[in-house]
């Protein structure tokens, strides 16, 4: 009993850390979904690509920080090129084909990862500056986990500033709300789609980089995370960013707590909840619409 409270607190903390990463992935996916109207099946692959680019940069320069900075930017640029050259021509053809295209991209990226980096996977050490634990009174906690939480909060705050406090952010929110109206006002919605897709991909890749020292890397990390990303989007409401943050945290904490007490049921519960919410509250738990 004496051990239970600290254990529980650690689990909740772990849940929040993973939950923040889920939130990053979920925001990216929900942004793409809201703007482009497609469930991006390549989202998991972009997340995995971020993590593998970190490993590549680590191998070349030895600097985690450089990887943290550059890997998501590379994914950002690559996915904007992908959207511009390959996805945009498909918009007039129909959503189904865009969806299938992202499915194909996810297969291709996963196979490329196996070809380039091997099928086995890697583990990554956090940078020396963030190694070890911090004493937090009741328990000690890994320094890297706290760093992840800090970075995620900072990025999400920056994103919030971008979306809520800048002109471009306002256009982006308007694009999620009503594309026809936005284009009628003389704004190039297609350019908005490109940037939105890139931004969503950036967040996925950043989450991949940040999670690498926690969970390690496998070529299948993208396929494994994709279902959770969809759950978060469904829970938060399609295109709802605040909802995605809340849903990410809920899923993160629920997952760590249920694996502690009822490991067999945790994933099933999560997907059952997803189905239930899509059915009863399609606007998500937090949507007003």
């Amino acid at each position: 009993m004496e051990n239970l409270i600290p254990t529980l607190t650690v689990q909740v903390f772990n849940g929040l850390v993973v939950g923040m990463l889920y939130a990053l992935i979920g925001i990216g996916l929900t942004l793409i979904l809201g703007l482009l109207d497609i469930p991006n099946f390549a989202h998991g692959a972009l997340y995995a690509l971020g993590a593998y680019l970190l490993v590549q940069i680590l191998g070349m320069t030895g600097s985690f920080w450089l990887g943290l900075l550059i890997a998501p930017i590379v994914v950002f640029i690559l996915s904007m090129i992908l959207e511009r050259l390959m996805i945009r021509p498909l918009y007039p053809v129909g959503t189904n084909y865009v969806l299938l295209f992202t499915f194909a991209v996810s297969v291709i990226v996963q196979e490329l990862i196996i070809i380039l980096w091997g099928p086995v996977g890697f583990s990554v050490l956090p940078p020396t500056m963030l190694a070890g634990s911090v004493e937090l009174g009741l328990f000690s906690y890994p320094r890297y986990h706290l760093f992840v939480m800090f970075v995620s909060v900072a990025v999400i705050f920056a994103l919030w500033l971008l979306l809520e406090r800048t002109r471009y952010g306002a256009i982006m929110r308007a694009g999620i709300e009503n594309k026809t109206m936005v284009s009628a006002l003389g704004i190039d919605v297609y350019r908005l789609f490109t940037v939105g897709f890139g931004l969503g991909a950036y967040l996925a890749a950043l989450a991949g980089v940040l999670i690498a020292p926690i969970r390690g890397l496998t070529p299948y990390m993208g396929v494994d995370i994709l279902p959770f990303a969809f759950v978060i989007v469904a829970l938060g409401g399609l295109g709802n960013i605040i909802g995605a943050i809340a849903a990410g945290l809920i899923i993160g904490v629920t997952q760590t707590l249920t694996t502690q007490f009822w490991p067999q049921g945790s994933t099933i519960t999560i997907f059952a909840v997803m189905a239930l919410i899509l059915l009863t509250r399609p606007q998500g738990l937090f949507g007003a619409r």
Partner: protein, 336 residues
């Protein structure tokens, strides 16, 4: 006189031609590839035809067809292993299981449209996968369900041993032909026509007084039943039900093979299944990373062959000159 007779016979012969071709393909396919692979072709052809009832005929992109395929595979597998049932009983039970699961999933998913519908079918597929994954004491979990037997098909008078690969090939292709005929009857029936009306314009179909949700639900059940049947045949082919049968990537593959064949024709998905399985087998023995090529082919299809093989065929046909065509009234295929 004779000429008039021929002209009269033609429209009756027309619909038979694809079936004759199909019979020929069934006979020559084992000469072109390993018997196991050829058998797999017809199993996936059933699955793709069942899926196209939803995508091509009703306009529903279900991203969870593996749910029903897997439900049938595990039901038949468990019955064959533990109860040693008659193979035809196992197939019937698998169809029933696939239909029941599809009834449930369809009932829930059809309440939503578009993106929500796709995501719901996907969510239920994941749920089914994790149920199978967790219930490893029954299903074998991630290692699959091994030891599925292939008992003889006992028909009172004769008993047919389907354990040899060639016999099983024949068994599967006969079932495939029966399924294809049944599904053809479904899509040509008044029921099938209403489904196509829903695909074209659901609001208008509803305005004509059709309960479109009920039609879509029934389409789901039929599609699920045939998918479950295909799943049972799959488990019996390899003697094991791998967990991949219910994995969402399988759902994606079904979409792929249907699309590559062409959704706009009844037989399109069959061509897609032949191509898909053949390609997968040919490349996978030479190169472990064959899904990469697969993804690339998929992209090519999306960009250049959106109608699949069916569309390519039609374009070729349009290029060829047709002597004497003008003399007859155009009775060409009016399939959508």
């Amino acid at each position: 006189m004779g000429h008039a007779k021929v002209a009269k016979l033609r429209p009756q012969l027309g619909p038979i031609i694809p079936w004759v071709l199909l019979g020929v393909v069934v006979l020559i396919l084992p000469d072109l590839m390993r018997t196991t692979v050829a058998t797999e072709v017809w199993i996936f052809a059933i699955l793709a035809l069942a899926f196209n009832l939803l995508l091509g005929y009703t306009g529903l992109l279900s991203f969870g067809q593996a749910t029903f395929f897997g439900a049938g595979a595990y039901t038949a597998g468990l019955l064959l292993i533990h109860q040693r049932v008659h193979p035809l009983v196992a197939l019937a039970a698998a169809a029933l299981a696939g239909g029941l699961v599809a009834a449930l999933v369809g009932y829930l998913c059809i309440r939503r449209v578009g993106l929500y519908f796709i995501m719901l079918t996907f969510a239920f597929n994941l749920m089914a996968y994790f149920i199978v994954y967790q219930a490893s004491s029954i299903t074998g979990g991630v290692d699959g369900l091994p030891g599925v037997p292939r008992p003889p098909v006992n028909l009172q008078v004769i008993s047919w041993d389907i354990r040899p690969g060639v016999s099983y090939y024949l068994f599967v292709s006969l079932i495939f032909l029966a399924c294809a005929l049944a599904l053809k009857r479904v899509v040509d029936s008044p029921f099938g026509l209403v489904l196509q009306a829903i695909r074209e314009n659901e609001a208008r179909a509803a305005a004509l007084g059709y309960n479109t949700s009920a039609f879509k639900r029934l389409a789901f059940v039929i599609s699920g039943a045939f998918s479950g049947l295909a799943g049972a045949l799959y488990g019996m082919l390899f003697g094991i039900v791998p967990i991949d049968t219910i994995y969402w990537v399988t759902s994606g593959n079904v979409v792929f093979m249907t699309l590559i064949g062409g959704t706009s024709s009844f037989f399109g998905p069959v061509i897609g299944a032949i191509f898909f399985i053949w390609l997968a087998e040919t490349i996978s023995v030479r190169w472990e990373r064959w899904p990469l090529l697969f993804g690339l082919v998929f992209v090519l299809v999306i960009f250049f062959f959106r109608g699949g093989f069916v569309e390519v065929w039609r374009r070729l046909q349009a290029l060829l000159p047709r002597p004497g065509r003008k003399l007859e009234p155009d009775r060409g295929p009016t399939k959508d």
